[in-house]
Symmetry: D2
Subunit: 430 residues, 4 copies
């Protein structure tokens, strides 16, 4: 008896990525949506496999203590997606069932970042109100938990997920995206100028990348027509829904032969809303997927967008403190909006940020924390004209002290600050 | 040994309401917000007490099988609120802590209703898209559960809560509400006409009621200036957040001496969003409250709106199916909105309604069900221009069959229909 | 328009109980199990109805501040059960499906008690180790919560349930109970004497009561043969499983025609194990039930005991501190037991009690609190010879301060004590 | 801009294990508890590190389709523990705080096994009742989920944890273990023979291993006196509590200088009780730990055994079906035990096994499944003489069909069988 019977076979990794090299030097990565980007790999229904992914900027952000890299990020190069993966026998109108079996950071790179982007380069929910200047927090991954030297006093369990996952659009769908978003951009021009921050991102050849050897004319067409990856759309895409997490099952509508699944923008954790734009804890890493197909599923389930089933291992924090907001600019000009859930979300977020400031966190820290931590935001009501009500709930157990309201008020501690610009420039004073 | 030692003292009921009589015949009920409505009762910090409440329409809707009462509802008479309750020693700038210890329907009236209101009389989230005609569902309360003869095949645990609870506004706050909402109404006029449905509701003397003997000039001022109760505002009010439920603790900003707490619009259950307008399961009943005060709490906690802590007994349904929506009118004209969470919520809701129709529910039933059942709606992301992503999650265990996607599609059953108008008129055909 | 449309029909109450009168003066109450106790009321499958219940001692314990009533309690008179209720068409071998739709205290009596019983009169888990003397805590019900003037610093949500609910035994089953329990009593006699506390309770005519007019010879037979109600058995009975709570669905084996459902021993809350014997928060109150029948269910589901489905509204406290125990008398003589989960439970409980004493609670308070609060106890492992491992988990959010281990140790506060004997006699010093 | 800024530093792995080689050929592995086994590695408070572990048998069980390896397993060689790890500055009476940050299978070996052991070689809860013969199930790890070709129709999320983790015993503590367990063995001898299965395992030089170069006389003393690793004890050890999972925080009493933490017996998942003895899903893998120290913590927290805080990512399955058991041998001779929670657990387990057999699972499959799946077992009551009540709850969502009781009974499917002995011998017929 000299040999162990412990043998095994790892789940195959179909696309490998080297996160220490720029994304645009690597195969199997693309950063535009287009019907002519062919499968980089093809699998069969029932297959289980792994795919690696770069972090969304493709390696532009470093594990350091200033935010200059965030300030200067090149957004024409994002998001860097792994894929496409085609599934044999899949046709338009089918549903691609994707089990997101696991999502892990690279073992050699147990860290991620959350960023506040400049008002003029990326923006974010409060880009204008705060006149946002670049700031960031680096998070260390300690097993299932994240902590940050830039936001002391908190630790929370990750809800790892791809912020972005979706199927290849058809030519028609792509055209529709470009039409409607182009119209939006056109309609928001003031004196012929685009607003800052932008309302949408039109196709942009600069920075476009397909990660495959394709005929040059195809590449040029993709670069010129390819939809940008910023928003979520009918195929999924960058919906940034934190509960599309490891253990979830997703049903995607299929628009092209083979389905063409791509994903990226891996998050270790994210708050509902991902408010600071690059608000999740962004990371590079590995996903494990299993795929199958439901023929004709789009019609069977009346789908215009993906459906999913959440995971049984999403972090559970039952004790929470909840803030409210309504469709009024409560923190600025007092303007009454008409049933605007976005305004209500912003008001709730501002209330929570102000509360965290009473505890001693700076506005940058609070903004980053709410973006990254397992914060839930519910649409409370959306019919009580003129005010939608939105709530934002903060798990209390992620703090190393009791943060509930006390008769004596909240004890203000010194938590330092987030990583800021090396020139010291911050947004509007708090 | 002949006597039981079982003795006790019930918690006192400070305001009694007879739900079999119209609200406007009873004392301790009011339906406008105004700083000059004095306390109907006064309590001390630490007191525990009960208060009864009419259902929000004050008795206009019956337990029957047509929706004519919904069609004809008089909305100038809503919401019928119980109060105000003053708390001794409370001043502007304080925080009123309210423990919502219990919320129960009247034992003699174990039923409630959910209504789709007419496009021209109340509206609702899809008033225009569906050209909504009145429909309703009557729910029977069976202990902690509700079932409806108008929506067979579902049963769910209630999350009983006051849809509306808040403190008395100061004169300044009331003025500000009237200013900003008046401006909104003004700005939305088309050719001098108000849109249908309305964007907001200005003060309206018709139907106004204070439930107390007050000097006539005071009454007239209240009728003329009093804010309508439809929306939630800085003081709480009709936020319709389902998690302000029995067992929750709420922190309200205080704007006037005594605080002046009023509440009403009791719900047996509600889905996030309460989409059909009268979408919760509306009921009359009893709340049990305990109150205390944090001096100067508004500043201590940087409050512009209430804060609350959720209840440990909110119904827990971990298995869910989740639908998504983005800021595009996916089901109508395909218009691209700019980062509009309301549009995204609507898209997710439409996707879920369509799914339920595949199971055999009519559009009215699906619309009512999503409004009333313990549906969660999360703001997924709100920074990915131009699309916010909103999710809507349906607990699967409330159905008496497996509703998850199947390879063979969904089995369509005959569930009859909701209670409709006696003249048979319905909205736009499905 | 002068009339409210709010009409309704209360769920009928089939058996009414007056808790201010002794149980043995009232109809529809019995305190023995016997096949010849006929239905007090009969219902049909599908019926929804209410039944009232006395607290388990039938009124022997008062809302006061000493434990003399506990010391002197007459245990031949317990438990006082409401019923039996027969369900039409039900036969032996069927399964009675019981939806426990709600469980509420009487509105006029919003309080309950938890007792430590004397070693020589009732006992409890640590009767011998502690040489238990009577002690108790009175709990006030504040909506869904309970607090006690005898155990300051805690508040928790109730998990209301009948500690005791079961079907009428057949003659054969009753005979088997008496056989096996008689043998146990016989085998535990030492020098012809019963041990103290008792290992089981044989039929006892003294104190027996049927709550109906029956022929005297039948009564005498019931008194002489009727099984005592202390333990749970194949029919359910006093299993004291806290999760048979409002909202749960229970499947009971049927042994006699009509099923003969009886219940009692209502608890506002209980910890797993109910360690102090009368460890739950005992109360009088009302249950709402719905019944149906599955023909031949006992064989269909291979049942020897009830099966149940838990409620979605059981209190949820995710943050917990957990104590462990093994099959060794760690706190007394160090004896090693063989795979004894009971010993392991006791060791875990002692560890938790000791921890609570470090916080300042007396041993009586800690013992009562663990009996009454939503404590969970899991069988960790039961195969690692010779030690079973049992865990006991305490929800941390029920305390008004942070009770987790701190570097500096635990702050000891003065919490007074439980209600004790008026003669001041307590058990073995701590 | 040619370089990615993605850099990182992996958490260091302090002890590496090769699972493809037998455990007894490797350093840093030991399989006895003894005060003279020195630290294999030493860390500082605050350190984060990884440690690898063999599966508990050290490689004796293979990924194949018969159970002969289980039949022949050499139990003198178990458990194979990684360690000891000393923590600088730690002394007896301190508390070692261990954050179990993650527990993962080896990436190359994504599988594990659950075994029923022979009555005469290991046993298990029903060794005697079933006259157990070896059987096993191989589980494939698919990200967070496990499935088995030997138990079709189920899939569940893992709750990965070390079944065994504890500190080095002092000489005195070791002596006490050997005393009390020796006495138990002695007292259970019948005619001078040990019972089968054994009640406890005395020190056994055969198979003993320390994984370090030590003076021969020390080794011999360890082999001769070293406590076997089967049971949990005061230091933790093999408590097999499934909630000591990734994300949990554990407080261990320290008995020797440096603390001497060792662990092993990694489980991908386990049911409460781990009833089939080798009932968890056994695996080899990697843990990530962070350690700190509370000086004098044993006294501060009155500890006789470890305390722990559960993880926020333990799998959550709210829908369950629950079986009950009491202290009566309901499935065999009907013997009444006195307040025996172990008997009650067994009765509940038998009821659940019988239910699963009605669904088509064989007894071996059911026994293995309940051992391995996220089954909860609660001590319901432990004071209702003579019957303790224990419940066993099965999550319904782990099955690929609805398993709840139906009026028509349960549909019996053909699920094949577990991996059995190649000679076809099984236990007592079902």
């Amino acid at each position: 008896m000299n040999a162990s019977k412990m043998t095994g076979q790892a789940i195959p990794t179909l696309i490998k990525v080297d996160p220490t090299k720029p994304a645009y030097e690597q195969k199997g990565i693309h950063n535009r949506w287009h019907d002519e980007i062919p499968a980089f790999v093809t699998v069969k229904p029932g297959d289980i496999f792994k795919l690696e992914a770069h972090e969304w900027t493709g390696g532009q952000i470093g594990n350091n203590d200033d935010s200059d890299d965030v300030r200067n990020v090149d957004l024409t190069r994002v998001h860097n997606l792994t894929g496409p993966v085609d599934v044999e026998g899949t046709e338009p109108g089918d549903v691609l069932v994707v089990d997101i079996l696991d999502v892990q950071p690279f073992e050699e790179h147990p860290w991620g970042f959350t960023g506040i982007f400049e008002r003029t380069n990326g923006g974010g929910l409060f880009a204008t109100e705060f006149d946002s200047k670049a700031a960031k927090a680096i998070w260390d991954f300690k097993g299932i938990y994240a902590t940050s030297r830039h936001i002391p006093g908190v630790r929370f369990a990750g809800c790892t997920h791809p912020g972005l996952i979706g199927t290849r659009p058809s030519k028609e769908l792509l055209k529709e995206w470009n039409r409607r978003e182009g119209k939006l951009i056109h309609d928001h021009k003031v004196d012929g100028q685009d607003p800052v921050p932008a309302v949408a991102f039109p196709p942009e050849p600069k920075g476009a990348y397909v990660g495959q050897d394709l005929p040059d004319e195809v590449k040029q067409r993709i670069y010129k027509e390819g939809a940008r990856t910023i928003p979520g759309r009918e195929h999924g895409g960058n919906v940034d829904i934190k509960n599309l997490s490891r253990g979830s099952r997703c049903y995607f509508p299929v628009f092209t032969k083979g389905a063409g699944l791509s994903f990226g923008d891996l998050h270790f954790s994210q708050g509902d809303g991902e408010m600071s734009f690059c608000g999740a804890i962004e990371m590079a890493g590995v996903v494990t997927l299993q795929v199958s197909v439901i023929k004709g599923g789009v019609d069977k389930f009346a789908m215009t967008m993906p459906i999913f089933l959440p995971s049984p291992v999403d972090p559970q924090y039952s004790a929470r403190i909840i803030f409210e907001g309504i469709s009024v600019n409560l923190h600025t000009d007092g303007e009454q909006k008409s049933m605007c859930a976005t305004t209500a979300y912003k008001a709730a977020a501002r209330n929570c940020i102000s509360y965290l400031q009473k505890l001693g966190y700076t506005r940058e820290q609070a903004y980053l924390l709410l973006s990254a931590a397992p914060v839930d935001s519910h649409v409370g009501s959306i019919v009580d004209s003129p005010n939608a009500a939105v709530s934002l709930s903060l798990p209390t157990a992620i703090f190393d002290r009791d943060i509930l309201p006390q008769d004596a008020g909240l004890e203000k501690r010194d938590y330092g600050n987030a990583a800021l610009r090396s020139d010291g420039v911050r947004g509007i004073s708090e």
